[in-house]
Symmetry: C2
Subunit: 326 residues, 2 copies
DNA sequence: CTGTTAGCGCATTCAG
DNA sequence: CTGAATGCGCTAACAG
């Protein structure tokens, strides 16, 4: 920067201003500085700038996973809104573990991010404590079932699970089984979907059939499908924690020659891209994945600009997609 | 930090050492400092630390996209290796645009990352210039067809395309069509796969059939499939730039009652998780996605530790998966 | 094993 | 519209 300044015959401050407040520099001066920057190949050192200005323009995001996951779409939405403002995203995956999330939050906080985004509402006390101490905006994503730490952008997984199951019942299904994304009971999204399912059955005076906990992935759906049939041969509907598990079940049914939806109705959750296209197309719940990120980004934009926000709780809703497998 | 130091009755350096070189501090002192840190809720300021030490422990990654993409898996591999060493990942998507990639690289460099990872080998001159000036390790990922800027971890998309097509020919296919991920001819991975395909046809004395450029996505595969049939009704094989496009084609064939593989053989690329499970399962090329990230992470680990690396060019290979659609 | 000194590169005062 | 002085919070180098 010193090199640039001397080459342009100005002081360090002027160079800094050309970068951050170009309007406050006379055109002639600005041009000189700009060409000096060009000539020297100057790259501003944001680490130094951040230390002084206390603004890192960094958003820390911790998501459970990025493969066949809605998180990738959410993060995309966030970055679409915030990148044009100079923000960048620090991303890490917790593998659905609140413990790992806590470690990541701790590590991230030392980088002085201007905000932090977490998935879901389940976090360790340690995470909550550190976040409170950090005193930066926190946005939780993709669920609304309990009060957020700070702000939240999501939808009701409970309502979605309940409405989807009700719609299946209204279409004549009576004996339900459930493939639950297991091993991660800290996953409030899966849990709430499941509870919505149970509620819908109760609402209609139906008894829940078997529930099988499965691994995340197509193989989980395949294995779980067989276990469900073993547990109860006359099942006529299967609901799943997500589309990946549901598709695994669908593929297994196809290999076994079990008609879907003829003999068994099938529903997933999330509306993955493939779900509208596969044959038969998958009944599921669409959630506005990218929009969750966009809303979260806008919330941060306003908060960080010091604008007041009407509400720190944004419900983006969801919509049932009653497709061919119903 | 000052607060912690005075509370523990030591100097600032000692606090710093407890964090970074605990072995160089006497146990009793260390314990005092640790409890002072605990008591004050001290969070180290890595921005300041980085300014002085010139180490940000930040890896910048620019990938084309994260949804149904191998990039998510690669980044996962990188972070598995480097996170335990305290590195974090700055991630952004270029949307397959070298221009956007350049802007991201420029913006990222001001954050003083210790290394930068890019996908593919096609970059603008501006990107190359800035990277050269930055003088940090650069790792390009997922292709090997031209000399890298610095280091590269990938496989030969050309060879893979050629071998896959040859295998289809050996299984009796003769009239080929191709669904090419279009609109992004800067995408060297797609281009090389396609050239390998053409080479295999030439090797076997076959003439290429129609090629249709399609959008990335299932719908692209669906539309492209119909266009291919329109262009040439007696086609008996379709190769695609990737599995997503191939699956779109498969679904469209199923809806139209066109037998796959009976009437038309079908092949994708990448071996997405779904490809081994769908019915019929998809013939494709498996690439070691996570391993690309792991190898890249190890390369960086050694480079950043000052260890010499035997070769900055790692070929992780690929393997043909001749499944049911072959 | 611990402390003192100095300064990383920049943005924020405040003056002019 | 521009510049001089100051220090952000920490760590490298050296000294003891």
């Amino acid at each position: 920067m010193e090199h640039v300044a001397s080459l342009a015959g100005v002081s360090l401050v002027t160079v800094s201003r050309v970068i951050h407040e170009p309007d406050r520099v006379a055109e002639a001066t600005r041009l000189k500085v700009l060409s000096a920057m060009e000539a020297t190949g100057y790259v501003p050192n944001m680490v130094a700038g951040s230390l002084k200005s206390r603004r890192t323009k960094l958003i820390a995001c911790v998501v459970p996973s990025v493969e066949h996951s809605i998180s990738a779409n959410i993060v995309y939405g966030v970055s679409q809104v915030l990148r044009p403002l100079g923000f960048h995203i620090l991303l890490a995956t917790s593998g659905f573990s609140p413990q790992e999330e806590e470690e990541l939050v701790f590590a991230f906080l030392s980088r002085q991010p201007e905000a932090i985004m977490l998935t879901g509402l389940t976090h360790t006390p340690g995470t909550r404590k550190r976040l409170a101490a950090a005193a930066i905006p926190v946005i939780e994503l993709a669920n609304l079932s309990s009060p957020p730490i700070d702000m939240v952008v999501g939808y009701s997984n409970f309502d979605a699970g309940q409405q989807l199951t009700s719609a299946m019942i209204e279409r004549g299904r009576r004996k339900f089984g459930y493939l639950l994304h297991g091993g991660h009971l800290e996953n409030d999204r899966s849990r709430d979907r499941y509870e919505g399912y149970l509620q819908a059955l109760a609402d209609h005076g139906l008894r829940p059939g078997p529930t099988v906990e499965v691994e995340f992935g197509y193989a989980g759906g395949e294995n779980g499908f067989l276990q469900l049939l073993d547990a109860c041969a006359d099942i006529d509907a299967i609901c799943c924690s997500n589309d990946v598990i549901a598709l695994g079940a669908l593929y297994e049914a196809q290999r076994r020659g079990i008609a879907v939806p003829g003999r068994i109705g099938l529903a997933g959750f999330d509306d993955h891209d493939v779900s509208a296209h596969c044959v038969p197309s998958l009944t599921t719940v669409e959630i506005p994945k990218v929009r969750i990120g966009v809303e979260a980004g806008n919330l941060l934009r306003r908060t960080l600009a010091g604008e007041p926000v009407e509400s720190g709780r944004i419900d983006v809703g969801f919509s049932l997609k009653m497709r061919e497998t119903h």
